[in-house]
Amino acid sequence: MPMRSALEGINVLDFSWVGAGPLATKYLADFGAQVIKVESTKHPDIGRLSAPFKDNIIHPDRSAFFLHSNTSKLSITLNLQHPKGITIAKKLVLLADIVMENFAPGVIEKLGLGYTHVSRIKPEIIMASSSIYGQTGPKARFRGFGNAGAAISGHTALTGWPDRDPVSPGIAYADVVQPLFTVIALLAAIDYRGRTGKGQYIDTTQVETMIQFISPAVLDYFANGRIQTRAGNRSSYACPHGVFPCKGEDRWCAIAVFDEKEWEGLCRAMENPEWTRDPRFATLSSRKENEDELESLINPWTRQYEAEDLVRTLQEAGVPSGAVQDGSDLVDRDPQLRERESFVRLHHPVIGECNHPVPPVKLSKSPAQVKTAPCLGQHNEYVYTELLGIPDAEYVQLLNEGVFE
C-alpha cells in the first residue's frame, strides 16, 4: 500500500497567527490536512515580519521564521473587515472540518465567525480557540507576548540559579507547549466526530497547558505546602547532574549520573582518582549532600577535553552525557539529525532552497510529507475560483472591491 497521509481529507480553515496558533496547524498540514491560512495584505501575520529574512530584505515572503512555522499550508488573503469577506469566510467554513483561531478573546465573535455562528452554519464543525488565559473569565482580556505563558504558569520562577533572579526560557516556550495540546484536542475531536457525528468547541490556554509540564511541583505545594525553588542544573534524583566546562571558549558537556552503576562508570572514565573513593561520594544521597565539592572536583577533569571527545569516553563507560550545542551544530554537524532527516531541504519560490523542519514523530505507514510554506495570498485563485467555484468575472469584481486584500 502506498504511503498515505494520516490526515488526508481533513480541511482546516486557519485564522491563527504569530506563534502558538500556526505551530499547531503546521502539524496538521505536515501530516496531510489541507490547511487554508487566512491572511490579509493590510495586516500580515507578524510572523511574516520576523527575522531572519532571506538576504536580510524585510518582505512578507522572505521570512525564515514564518517558513519554519507554516510549512505545508495554503495561503489566501481575505478582508475580514469587508462584509463580503465575512460571507466568503462563511462559505469556507462550509468546506472545513476544523476552524482554528487565536485572536484576542471576543474578536472572532465580533466578526461573526465565532463558534455560535459557525456551528449554526455547520453543526458538525470542530473549532479551536487558543489564548493565553481562556475565552471567558476575569482575566480573559489579558494581553501577553512571548514569555507571558512561562511567567504566569510558574515555569520562569523555577528556571535559573538559586542565588539569582529567575530567567525566562530562551524561547517563547508556551508557543511550543500549547500547540501540542491544541493538536491533541483537534485530533481527538475528529475521532469523536467520526464515532458520534458531533462537532465541538475547544478552548486551550497557554497557562493551563504549561502547568501540565510542572505538575509535580504543583502537587508538592498542595500536599506539602512546599514552594519549589530554582535548582540551577541540579536534579533531586541524580548526582552529579549538570554541565561541566570543556576545553575552549564556553564549551560544556552535560553529565547525569542516576545510579551506582553510572557512578562507577564515571569514576572509571576519570581513571579512578583517589578522591572518588571518599565515603562522602559513595551513594547518591551522600553525593547530593556534598554536591558543591563534587562538582568542583569534576570540573578540572572535564576542562582537559574537547566536549565531543569527553562524550565519547563517557558514553563508552555507560554514563549519560552530551555536549551543549548551538544552532550551527544542529544545522551543520549533528549526524543524528542528518540521519533522521529532521530538516528537509525544499525549494521555496522566493527564499529558494532551505531547511524545513520535519515533525519529530515518525509514523511507519503514514509519515509526514512536508511541503514548503506559502507566499502571501499564493493560493487565492485556487481556493476562490476552484474550491469555492467563484466564477472568474465575480472573482475579479470582488478583487476590485478589496474583498481579497
Binding site: N233, L330, Q336, S342
Partner: protein, 408 residues
C-alpha cells in the same frame, strides 16, 4: 472523548505523559509496572516529604487517569501474558532502550502479526535509528544537545536547563499526537503502525528560532539572562517589582504603539513619564535604537514598576491592555482567579491515604465534555485482579503462581 480505546502503557518517566493524556481524554489506560514496583516511584517530591515508593508525587502527577497492573516481561510466561493483553488493546506505548522489545520477542512486527490494528508507540532519547540510537541520555543531556541550554541563563554562568524534566513532557505530548494520527490512519486503512518518537528531536523542534538564525544570518545567539536579542540593543524582559517580578518587553512601531502609549499614560498619572511622553511610539523602531537610549527608557520603567506589587501591576495591566505578566511562584498559581474560574484544580485522593489534594485538571475545555482527570494514579498492582482475573479470565491459582514466580 476517547472512551472505548485501550492503551497498554509500559513507559518509564521518559514517556508517562502520553498515557496520561489518553487517560484524561477518556481512554482506558493500563499502566504496567515491574512486579516490585516501578523504579520511577523513587522520583520526588514525596507526599509529606519522606521518600517512600508509594508516595511519589512525581509518579502521582503523571500517572493519574490510569489503572495499574504488574508484569515482568523477561520470562516466557510474562511475554505470553503480555501478548494476550496486547491482542486486546489499541495502543502499546513503551520507552525501553531501542531493541529491548525486539529482544523480548515483543517487537512491533511480532505483536502486529496477531493484532494488525495495533499501534505501537516507542519513545526513546534518539529514536529507533541513527548513529546515536544507543547513546545513554536523560533530560539535561537532550536539552544540552538541542541548543536550548546555550540560549538560556545568565551570560556569566553555565548554560542552564528549563525546570524539572521538560524534554520528557515534550516527548510524551508529541507521542500522544503521533498516536492520534496513527488512530486516524487506522480509521481509513484498517491498519495499525509503529510510531517512533525521538525525545531529542522534540527538544530540537522546541528550539524553533536558532537553526534558521544560523542558516540565514550565520549568527549564534548566546544566553543573555533576561535580555531579549534584537538587531541592535538587547531588551530587558524581567523586572523587579515590590514583592516579586514581572515580565515585559518594550515594543515600538505600530505593533507596540498602543500598549506603550497606555504604559506612558499610566506613568504620567504620577508624573513619572518624563521624556517618554514626547516619544512617537509608532515611529520608534526598537530594533534600531542604541543600547544607551534603550537603557535610559528601561531605567525609568524599572523604577516605576518597583513601586508596585504584582497584584497592583496585574490589575492595571488587565484594565489598560498593557502586556505585563506576573512571574508566578507555585503558590501564586494555585491562588489564580482565572484558573479557579475555569475549575482547573481537581481534588484527588492520594493513593494509600485519605488525603485529598488539588491536581491540575485537563488542559483544555471542550463543549462536549468527557475529558478530565478521571482517577488518581494507581497503587502498584492495584488492578491486577480486575485485569488478569476478570478481563483475561485467569483463575486465582494461576495468579498466585504468577505472583510467586515473580511474573506479576
Amino acid at each position: 472523548m476517547l472512551s472505548g480505546y485501550r492503551v497498554l502503557d509500559l513507559t518509564d518517566e521518559k514517556g508517562f505523559l502520553c498515557g496520561k493524556i489518553f487517560g484524561d481524554l477518556g481512554a482506558d489506560v493500563i499502566k504496567v509496572e515491574r512486579a516490585g514496583g516501578d523504579p520511577a516511584r523513587r522520583i520526588g517530591p514525596f507526599l509529606h516529604g519522606i521518600p517512600d515508593r508509594g508516595k511519589s508525587l512525581h509518579w502521582f502527577a503523571f500517572n493519574s487517569s490510569k489503572r495499574g497492573i504488574t508484569l515482568n516481561p523477561e520470562s516466557l510466561q510474562g511475554q505470553e501474558i503480555f501478548r494476550r493483553l496486547s491482542d486486546r488493546v489499541d495502543v502499546v506505548v513503551e520507552s525501553f532502550p531501542p531493541g529491548t522489545m525486539d529482544d523480548l520477542g515483543l517487537a512491533y512486527s511480532s505483536l502486529s502479526a496477531t493484532n494488525p490494528r495495533l499501534i505501537m508507540v516507542s519513545i526513546t532519547p534518539f529514536g529507533q535509528t541513527g548513529p546515536y540510537r544507543d547513546r545513554k541520555a536523560s533530560d539535561i543531556i537532550l536539552l544540552a544537545m538541542s541548543g536550548l541550554m546555550s540560549i538560556t541563563g545568565d551570560s556569566d554562568r553555565p548554560p542552564v536547563r528549563m525546570c524539572l524534566d521538560q524534554s520528557y513532557c515534550l516527548a510524551g505530548a508529541h507521542a500522544a499526537v503521533g498516536t492520534l494520527l496513527a488512530l486516524r490512519h487506522r480509521q481509513i486503512s484498517g491498519e495499525g503502525q509503529h510510531v517512533d518518537v525521538s525525545m531529542y528531536e522534540c527538544a530540537v523542534r522546541a528550539n524553533y528560532w536558532e537553526p534558521s538564525r544560523w542558516e540565514f544570518l550565520k549568527t549564534i545567539v548566546k544566553r543573555m539572562g533576561n535580555q531579549f536579542p534584537r538587531a541592535a540593543a538587547k531588551g530587558k524582559q524581567l523586572w523587579h517589582c515590590k514583592d516579586g517580578y514581572v515580565t515585559f518587553l518594550l515594543t515600538g512601531s505600530t505593533s507596540g504603539a498602543r500598549m506603550m502609549n497606555a504604559l506612558v499614560a499610566w506613568m504620567d498619572e504620577t508624573g513619572r513619564a518624563g521624556r517618554m511622553k514626547d516619544i512617537d511610539w509608532n515611529t520608534m523602531h526598537l530594533s534600531k535604537i542604541s543600547q544607551e537610549e534603550l537603557g535610559s527608557l528601561e531605567e525609568a520603567i524599572g523604577e516605576f514598576f518597583l513601586s508596585f506589587t504584582m497584584d497592583e501591576i496585574e490589575e492595571v495591566a488587565l484594565k489598560r491592555g498593557i502586556p505585563v505578566a506576573r512571574v508566578n511562584e507555585i503558590d501564586d498559581i494555585t491562588r489564580d482567579e482565572q484558573l479557579a474560574f475555569r475549575k482547573y484544580w481537581d481534588p484527588l485522593r492520594m493513593p494509600g491515604t485519605a488525603e485529598t489534594i488539588g491536581h491540575p485538571a485537563f488542559p483544555f475545555l471542550t463543549s462536549v465534555g468527557g475529558t478530565g482527570v478521571r482517577s488518581r494514579a494507581p497503587m502498584t498492582g492495584e488492578h491486577n485482579e480486575a485485569v488478569y482475573g476478570k478481563e483475561l479470565g485467569l483463575p486465582e491459582e494461576t495468579l498466585s503462581a504468577l505472583r510467586e514466580g515473580g511474573v506479576i
